[in-house]
Amino acid sequence: MSDTIILEVARFHPERDTEPSYQSFEVPLRADWMVLDALNHIKDQLDGSLAFRWSCRMGICGSCGMMVNGVPSLTCESLLMNFAPGPVRIGPLDHFPVIKDLAIEMDEFMGKLQKVRPWIVRKDDYVPKREFIQTPKQLAAFQQFTLCINCMLCYAACPVYGLDPSFTGPAALALAERYNLDSRDQGSAERTDLLAQHDGIWDCTVVGECSEVCPKNVDPSLAIQQYKISATKDWFKTWLMPWGNK
């Protein structure tokens, strides 16, 4: 087997280019290397102007999501050897505006995070002297939705988000559901009111691309379906049972 591999890396420089293009780099093919190590080799040795984000290189900070051969991936977890003999094509995450090369614009997502009110809401203002009692079963009810690292892979995979960037999207909706299902929280009604207004969740086709690409095994698709059910229930309660306990 060859001891090098070709990386075709997306380049886009807004001060210079109108269209993105791909540039080929030959890098060592090392047994222990992840795709991220190859990108760092390019940055350090071949072309210091290549722009991409990374930090923890252990799959927990969520910075290094990119398209690797067309699949949304964390490059710090993608073994280079798996793509031999190559070439392997690295692009910025789909569906996002590109700032430069492999770095995408994510300020809009940061706004969506805030919009779903991802904090404990207490209507009764009650704060226990010690901890809220929460059994392992109650914890398990929302635990998987706490594991999202905001890496944006699910947005790059989501066909609805691809068509409509105003869609709140898988990660933010899963986060809303994370708080809705937390036994300490009382904010689900106000979150549902906010989110059900938007057509987005009704457009979600339950194909589950988001859940498939999630590197942390979160199931945002499930969160969205649960959301639809609770939003529908609330709608029925409001219109059909106005005397009901909202």
């Binding site: 210091g48 900070c61 009692i133 109650q138």
Partner: protein, 584 residues
């Protein structure tokens, strides 16, 4: 140049910065807060902490015992007033996190679960499986989103502090996305930028841990403290340096040499038992356990591998269920990065640079000697960690001292802090902009590659200033760093663009790292004793008569590090022998 003004500005959006911001938002709702972070806050390195956060929880435990463990763990270099305050406050902080939604692991009855940890005499480490830092960071970040007084400057890199008339007045920062250079004014500034692991070649630390805040303070005239105290974690994965949490040993994992022998018993750390015993064997403190592994390597009793010698961390006897429920991330990391399943195979590990006990010198309120400048978390040195931090005390520290620094800044404001003379401050900001343009953005020519200089720095830190040091090795490192400082002036940049210029950031980070690396080496050179993580081959004993004192390093007018000493605060625990694995 674009300018903006706020009341209090935080540099860094990790655990300490977020906790400080929330404290300010709560205690002074009208305060206008700026959070300037070079990454989006949830990318901060707090995210990588795994094992837990210590705080007295059980009826059989006391604050005094947590104090004693921390003080003896620090080899008596921690300040006892700061430690006592920390141990008193931390249970309240951890409860607050619970009320904010942190998914702490639970007992069957729904109460908080705690686990044992290295150097701790009782079970007091709260945990969220083995992703405690991740959950803590995301809980803090998500909670911070409800405060509209927190204005975030995400992906802004601070290049210098603005100081006028003896007080800090703001910062100059580059917006990564546009390359815009901004002057951001504030009446108080809190440094929460985390550690400096990237000055070493083999570290658990993320790419962003480049000592920025320490260098900013140092350049602005605020001294650093105990910079020679560098913690090596005993168990890192050999190639990547990825951390395998101490919780793996707390749950019952064993360290084995190539003869399948639990070698820690040969290093005065107790006798092997089938299940973990507090303050004994695998639950010894990190400095002693890392030093023992080096001992095995030197005796030829370690395994040889392509990335250096290593020992085994064996979890197999814990069984799949325990590993999956208590240590899921350990399993995930081993499968992904080592292609091995700890349920079936022992994990290859070697000591890895992990944490900086030293940092920006602050008092017990998080205040530095420079008016208006505060610091908290790993970037700061209060000091509760002294010469060796106990595992699970750092997540607590970012909460207790993050909140405290925030509240101190509020008090400073309420006592009538002024904004300073805006003409002079703006002139200073313009000067900094000029420096950035001339030295980096518009600079042509240059022959040195950033990566080359960085690698040479990292190599000299490891060979000269690693777990064991001595005068000659430190002198060599000092000379090498001085040489690299000179060569730094001749760096070449491939990228002169404004938009998302990460190479410019790499250059600026390298400049910061060279400065803090020099303070580490010079502080290590001057401390002629062995204490905790600082082990001098030429001075193998602790020397309380000369060094029961903090090193304080300030930048001389020539730019070189200048050392002085400050006594340790001793209150109720007179210095004694550190005893592990046997009665005392």
């Amino acid at each position: 140049m674009e300018t903006s003004a706020h009341d209090i500005l935080l540099i860094g959006g990790g655990g300490a910065g977020l906790r400080a911001a929330i404290a300010i938002a709560e205690s002074m709702p009208q305060a206008d807060i700026a959070m300037v972070s070079k990454v989006y806050p949830m990318r901060s390195h707090t995210v990588s902490a795994e094992g837990g956060a210590a705080g007295v929880a059980g009826d059989d435990d006391t604050i005094d015992e947590h104090c004693y463990d921390t003080i003896s763990g620090s080899d008596w270099l921690g300040d006892q007033d700061a430690i006592e305050l920390f141990c008193n406050e931390i249970p309240k902080e951890l409860l607050r996190l619970e009320h904010w939604g942190c998914p702490w692991s639970r007992e069957p009855n729904g109460k908080i679960a705690v686990r044992p940890f290295g150097g701790m005499k009782k079970m007091r480490t709260w945990f969220a499986a083995d992703k405690t830092g991740f959950h803590l960071l995301h809980t803090l970040f998500q909670t911070s989103l409800k405060y509209t007084s927190i204005n975030r400057y995400d992906e802004h890199f601070v290049t210098s502090l603005l100081v006028d008339d003896g007080a800090v007045r703001g910062v100059v920062a580059i917006e990564l996305k546009t390359g815009r250079i901004r002057a951001i004014m504030a009446k108080a500034v809190i440094i929460c930028t985390g550690g400096l692991g990237r000055i070493f070649p083999f570290t658990t630390n993320a790419n962003i841990c480049t000592g920025d805040g320490m260098a900013l303070a140092y350049r602005a005239g605020a001294p650093l403290k105990d910079m020679e105290m560098v913690q090596y974690h005993p168990t890192g994965l050999p190639f990547t340096g990825i951390l395998i949490t101490e919780a793996a040993r707390a749950e019952g994992g064993w360290l084995l040499n190539k003869d399948n022998y639990r070698f820690l018993q040969d290093y005065d750390l107790g006798k092997p038992t089938p299940t973990p015993v507090f303050r004994s064997m695998e639950l010894g403190p990190r400095d002693r356990v890392s030093q023992a592994i080096i001992g095995e390597i030197e005796k030829g009793r370690a395994f040889h591998g392509p990335y250096g010698d290593y020992v085994h961390l064996d979890l197999r006897h814990l069984g799949e269920h325990k590993i999956e429920t208590r240590l899921p991330m350990v399993r995930e990391l081993c499968l992904k990065y080592e292609n091995l399943d700890p349920v079936r195979e022992p994990i290859r590990t070697r000591p890895v640079m992990h944490y900086m006990m030293g940092g920006v010198h602050t008092d017990i309120n998080g205040a530095t000697p420079l008016a208006g400048l505060y610091a908290a978390g790993e970037a700061a040195c209060v000091s509760i960690n002294g010469a060796n931090r106990l595992g699970s005390n750092s997540l607590g520290e970012i909460l207790v001292y993050g909140a405290r620094a925030g509240n101190s800044a509020v008090e400073y404001l309420q006592n009538g802090a002024s904004g300073g003379n805006s003409t002079r401050i703006l002139a200073q900001a313009a000067e900094e902009e000029h420096r950035l343009e001339e030295q980096f953005l518009r600079k042509t020519g240059g022959t040195e590659r950033i990566a080359r200089l960085r690698e040479e720095m990292q190599k000299t830190m490891e060979t000269g200033c690693g777990i064991y040091r001595e005068r000659n090795s430190l002198m060599e490192s000092a000379a090498k760093l001085a040489e690299l400082q000179g060569r730094f002036n001749d760096i070449a940049l491939d990228d002169h663009a404004r938009t998302f210029n990460t190479q410019l950031l790499q250059a600026l980070e390298l400049g910061f790292m060279l400065d803090v690396a020099e303070t580490v080496v010079h502080s290590a050179l001057h401390r002629e004793e062995s204490r905790g993580a600082h082990q001098r081959r030429d001075f193998p004993k602790r020397d309380d008569s000369r060094y029961l004192a903090h090193s304080v390093v300030a930048r001389s007018p020539q730019g070189t590090p200048h050392l002085s000493y400050l006594p340790v605060v001793i209150t109720r625990w007179p210095p004694g022998e550190r005893i592990y694995g046997r009665d005392h």
